[in-house]
């Protein structure tokens, strides 16, 4: 009996309309609070098997190399944080999961849906808690694994450096950053973007 098998490379890649090859980062630039911006792309299956994919999002940016080498506790995310991330997600993609047929492509849409800034009137803005409200302090989510703790740290740093002393009523820009992890295949091999 003769057994013959051909081994082919199976890979999923994200191609943007503007070209330029595979990208590992996507920057929406500056948008208005409450504005929605979309970035169209294609998910290409360059392989002979149908590929199931699923996107997961993590708040903040992480060093992808360090994540694999770090221990389990650092990567633990509580269900509450996952739920909060899902409900308050600003950067997302559509569809979040699906199947790409062999040697086919499907359209993807990376979406940045920023939240409207609600103007708070009265004495609430004058309280010491005002720094925790959106827009009243430099709340940065960059590099934040745990949003609450990281935000308070950043606010403390901003207060210490005197960043908000110039105009306490100024609505400062907000930075959003998310790590989108796309998993595909039966063994859950991850492709990170």
């Amino acid at each position: 009996m003769e057994v013959i098998a051909t081994c082919l490379d199976q890979s999923l890649s994200i191609v943007f309309n503007e070209g330029g090859g595979v990208k590992s980062s996507l920057n929406f630039g500056t948008v208005y609070m409450g504005e929605q911006r979309e970035y169209p792309a294609f998910l290409v299956n360059n392989g002979p098997q149908p590929a199931h994919f699923k996107f997961k999002f993590f708040k903040g940016l992480r060093n992808l190399e360090d994540e694999s080498s770090s221990n389990q506790q650092d990567n633990f995310i509580s269900p509450a944080e996952v739920g909060k991330e899902m409900t308050e997600r600003v950067l997302t993609v559509f569809p979040l999961s699906g199947v790409v047929l062999p040697y086919e492509k499907i359209p993807l849409e990376f979406i940045c849906r920023t939240k409207k800034h609600d103007h708070v009137t009265g004495f609430a803005d004058l309280s010491s808690d005002a720094v925790n409200k959106p827009g009243t302090a430099a709340i940065s989510e960059l590099g934040a694994a745990k949003s609450q703790g990281a935000s308070s740290n950043n606010v403390g740093a901003a207060l210490g450096s005197g960043k908000i002393t110039s105009n306490k009523f100024a609505i400062l820009p907000q930075d959003y950053a998310s790590l989108a992890v796309m998993t595909f295949g039966e063994n859950g091999e991850g492709v990170k973007h």
């Binding site: 980062s25 920057n27 929406f28 948008v31 208005y32 609070m33 504005e35 930075d175």
Partner: protein
């Protein structure tokens, strides 16, 4: 994936316009100055529609770091005191800033004879825009308006 969100920084010079007394068939205009203070991003705007008042242009794009003028027109079609709230909506209605427009109409003003047909010139189709400021709106009465129109029609009276 990264993004930076900024608050739309819009500056308007007035939030209250009182057109005073305007006769029926007459019109009066006031100017609103709108500035998009953002240095990089343009801003889409539109005005809501209200009776007797009109904003021109009604919608458009405010270029970055530029000042634009909007013309508010009060053109009453019936007698009464009118106080309306027109809103400037930006980003397709995400943010709304109300502007109060007020004016009253008690008498019928002289209706200008419009020229139409082959003898009409391009200028005959253009509206007779009379821009006034707050002081003029407060002082000008209907009588003065009618006198002004009469003088315009007959330069010998001036």
């Amino acid at each position: 994936m990264m993004a930076r969100a900024v608050y739309p920084d819009l500056k308007i010079n007035k939030q209250y316009f009182n057109f005073g007394e305007v006769g029926q068939n007459d019109r009066r205009d006031m100017v609103l100055s709108v500035k998009n203070k953002n240095k990089d991003l343009a801003l889409d705007f539109s005005f809501t529609k209200v009776a007797h008042f009109k904003a021109t242009p009604g919608r458009g794009k405010l270029l970055a770091d530029c000042e634009h003028t909007i013309n508010f027109t009060f053109e009453p079609k019936s007698f009464g005191m009118f106080k309306q709230e027109i809103a400037i909506e930006i980003l397709n209605g995400v943010y709304r800033f109300p502007i109060i427009l007020e004016g009253n109409c008690r008498q019928i003003a002289l209706k200008e004879k419009t020229v139409r047909g082959p003898a009409a010139k391009t200028s005959d189709f253009e509206p007779n825009i009379t821009v006034i400021n707050d002081e003029e709106a407060a002082l000008t009465t209907l009588k003065e308006t009618m006198n002004r129109k009469a003088k315009k029609e007959d330069p010998a009276l001036a």
